[in-house]
Symmetry: C2
């Protein structure tokens, strides 16, 4: 037997017991004829004691132990004189009588500590050592617990988890599909699913009524900072429901998680915000409502004073940063640089300091009187000591930039506490997004999303104004999931495909199997999908999803530990009747 207890389990009540532990050497230190070894496993750390005087041979062996050696020890539990109340086993230690080295260890390339000296690349290459670190392992323990609680809640709600296939057919968004050549069917390819969307809709046609799956999804696209080529979705679909039913069930799921994972009892219903309001007041479809600082529009108040920058802009709006009137020139220049970054794209920043005794100091004093600025301040509901930050320009772009500035000010003012959770449903998303480049509409969600019934007439006249029965769950400015009520009427679906520029043949080729299935009695249905990686990283308080994934890939889609992707044997390609054909370099 390798152990009688784990390294996290012994307490004062176990004193005088003879125990056997196995684990890794966290550290060793010598002190006055004694050698202390901390032995670590998944469950904790326990102090081992070797006494040079009592058992010199054993103590000498202990002195030879290196970091990360795997050892097995037997000894007697004793109360510590010098207790460590920071760890659960800190009141006891083990006087070791037997020591066995189960496996030695080379010196690890970085320290196995929460505060490691290993850089990102090194940690990824030796991910198996990185995973030994408490802080990383805990993220995966949290992930396990969250997935388990998600399943428990959905099972209680009568959802069935159904596994859908990973080897499917290349989909309309084919450009992002990973493809898989078939040896049995040379020249033919499977595709890995970007999501089980059409399959879960088929399950609704099959009468499964309430489906979910914690499903691997795949996208072969350029990876932004926080994307992975394979990611995990909590994918859900329900039949005979309206939007309200779906919001209720999944608000319930989130409350269940907050309660059982974080011990937070979120009694209040989650607020709901129209997408149009989210854009208008926060410049984002995923507003962080842990703090206010809502946008205030000023266009009407700024006109006709000769400030051509504002006069020529279709949109002028700002935010009020409480208590920031004392910002220095340098701080304000810093904010100006921030909004002028290419990814934010504002041309400049106008500020107004609300100073003592109702006086104002602004970067546009030349154009606007104290009376003008007072009017602005009034609309902002600004108090003495506040700072107004104003942007102008094209409406959509400026809203986005102002949204970024708002988040930045939220950070600077400490308004984005990671221990505060502000959930929100954003509803009534637009049906379509217009793309200037290709000069056509794209489905904002996907082509199966149902328009709001009162907006159906607009499909003919003004598609850009049509709102969808689509919704996102946002917490602290992070979109955790979203979904929609689906179209289940084939005429409406045909109209939708037409607006999206599909010919009848294209629609049939790409979605034929789903459209055919609908012919045999499709129930009204809808659903949503959560990003599990994002949910876990939010609950763990992480900035990136990477550390809640056991073996993540880097920004080039590479697993440097496994060395994947990599070249393969030519016989493998031959069998698949494929040939490499490198592009000529430009």
């Amino acid at each position: 037997m390798f152990r009688t207890q784990t390294c996290g389990e012994l307490r004062l009540k176990d004193v005088d017991k003879t125990v056997t532990l196995s684990g890794w050497v966290q550290r060793t230190r010598k002190m006055g004829g004694m050698t202390f070894v901390d032995i670590r496993d998944r469950y904790g750390v326990t102090q081992l004691v070797f006494n040079q005087e009592i058992n010199p041979t054993l103590c000498n062996e202990a002195n030879k132990l290196g970091r990360e050696y795997v050892i097995q020890v037997t000894g007697i539990v004793k109360e510590r004189s010098n207790k460590n109340f920071h760890i659960p086993t800190g009141e006891i230690e083990i006087i070791v009588s037997e020591l066995k080295v189960l496996h030695s260890s080379d010196i690890p390339p970085f320290t196995i500590e929460d505060d490691t000296d290993g850089g990102d690349d090194l940690r990824m290459q030796y991910r198996y050592l990185d995973l030994r670190r408490n802080c990383v392992r805990q993220n995966l323990e949290l992930r396990h617990k969250m997935a388990f609680e998600i399943r428990r809640y959905l099972d209680e709600q009568n959802f069935l988890e159904v596994e859908t296939p990973i080897l499917i057919k290349s989909t309309p968004e084919g450009a992002r599909d990973f493809i898989v050549p078939s040896r049995m069917n040379p020249g033919q390819f499977y595709a890995l699913p970007q999501s089980p969307q059409t399959l879960k809709q088929l399950l609704m046609v099959s009468g499964f009524d309430r489906y979910f799956q914690i499903a691997k999804c795949f996208r072969d696209e350029d990876l932004r900072a926080d994307r992975q080529p394979e990611f995990t979705q909590v994918d859900c679909e329900m039949s005979f429901v309206e939007q309200e039913d779906i919001l209720q069930i999944f608000e319930g799921l989130m409350k269940h998680l907050f309660y059982y994972i974080k011990g937070i009892d979120m009694k209040e219903p989650f607020p709901r915000m129209l997408w149009s309001d989210a854009m208008k007041y926060y410049g984002s479809d995923k507003p962080d409502i842990r703090f206010g600082m809502r946008f205030v529009e000023l266009k009407d108040l700024t006109e006709g004073r000769g400030f051509s920058v504002f006069d020529s802009a279709p949109y002028v709006a700002g935010i009020c940063a409480e208590g920031c009137a004392t910002y220095t020139r340098k701080q304000l220049d810093g904010l100006t640089d921030f909004v002028k970054r290419p990814q934010i794209g504002a041309k400049g920043l106008v500020y107004v300091r609300c100073e003592a005794r109702g006086s104002y100091k602004s970067s546009v004093d030349k154009f606007y009187s104290q009376e003008d600025l007072k009017m602005w301040a009034k609309r902002f509901d600004a108090k003495e000591g506040d700072l107004l930050l104003i942007l102008c320009g094209d409406k959509a772009k400026t809203q986005k930039a102002l949204g970024e500035l708002r988040l930045e000010m939220g950070n600077r003012l400490g308004l984005r506490n990671k221990d505060v959770y502000a959930p929100l449903w954003v509803i009534d998303f637009p049906m379509f997004e217009w793309d200037d480049e290709t000069n056509r509409f794209y489905a904002m969600h996907h082509p199966f999303t149902s328009p709001k019934s009162e907006d159906v007439p607009l499909l003919e006249t003004d598609p850009g104004k049509v709102r969808a029965n689509a919704y996102d769950m946002v917490i602290n400015g992070v979109e955790l999931g979203g979904g929609s009520i689906r179209i289940h009427d084939s005429q409406l679906q045909d109209k939708m495909f037409k607006i999206l520029g599909f010919t009848e043949e294209q629609a049939q080729e790409q979605f034929g199997f789903l459209m055919n299935a609908f012919k045999y009695g499709a129930p009204p249905h809808g659903g949503l999908a959560f990003g599990l990686d994002r949910m876990v990283s939010m609950f763990a308080g992480l900035d990136s999803i990477r550390d809640c994934i056991a073996f993540p890939k880097n920004n080039s889609g590479k697993d440097t530990m496994l060395d994947a992707p990599s070249a393969i044997d030519s016989f493998q390609l031959e069998e698949l009747q494929l040939k490499l054909e490198p592009k000529a370099k430009n």
Copy 2:
């Protein structure tokens, strides 16, 4: 609101309630001025009543409903005069006052009944309709429930479910890997995992201690009757354990499933059988021990009587079929034909009828006296009325053939009751299998399997005799899972690679990342994996795994519903810098 109740929920206590139901039209029938419609959803079937006299308009609408129409009805629950006690809702019916067709349906290509008129191919092509059938849906409900209970048990046992990646590196058994070209890294390929074997061993190196995952695995190989290119494993690994610990934990898992899924309390420990005994007495490494009929060897008793068929055979053995002495000539010829089938491969069958008053009648009466046959019968412990069935030839092949004959006789004698479960651990598998074709040893399990410590010396002298710390769980002749204690000593691992014919470079290239990981302190570890598809199909009493998979593929690896695999756009190949190169046909 689409429904106030489901179609499986109303009972006598609900009489006089006004309810709304939604579902599919299972069937309609007219009877004396009334129209009865059975409405179906996942939860059950409820009878709707329309009265021609009271509401002719509504009744006429009901008469127009086709099979599989999706409808919504509102009405009052009433007690039925003609009760149907076969279904839970059979005591009530709904007097309908409102009817809405939510979706019409074309006539389905086969009937949506347990006993459907649809053939296999048609049902696969319209799998979404096939899934509407009770008997198919119930298999997936069972699968959900089993997966849930597996997770519940393992969570209670401190196992963490860790998702390992689907996009990994091509492995040693590369010939069976599905490969995935990378757009970001042209000319390079991921592979889909045949199992998470090496990744779970890395997690042990990481100190995860108890890992599991219900994981998709992939094999691009010719599909035998009951294989799928993607399949699901319950994959498990533990650290600081010996074989006994693993057998205990997973015997516990199986008992948990029998208890919570089938209501069967399996108190007794599962029997264990040496692999060598399984081969000797059952001719199979997965014996069905619901019945005895163990092999009896006869070689010594048959020699020297001039029957050259037996005399020249290295192995003569048979089984005793109780009460079959009355088998007719035709029945015996049938059995002879059975054993002579190419997939069974025996040359012929010798029988001995144990008849009344201690007399014997055999197909070899010419060579063997009544006294000889009496000796045989005694060794079989045969009684009057029994039938001995004897094969001879090469030992391994004959054992296999006799094993098949034993199962066939088990079927004929009704000894293989699907409601009886006879679990078994088969232990002490051989380490290696010799392959005559390639003239080398192969790992019977995989190259990381640890040999039994007492057999380590044989590695040098007689590798074929080395037994492994490997075990399979077998129930009713089906191997549900298996695993091993792994090697965690790198010298032993090197020796293993050498025996398996790897050069040092090959071993490093293929398993380098795992061997390197072991250098940093690998704990003793071992594990196993169950086939979830097989487990579910056994619990469902199915003959094939296909019907417990939502969207299975056929024997050519095709999903005929999705039409996958299929040709892809040439731009997709170009982006991947690949080109089709069809082989010239021979």
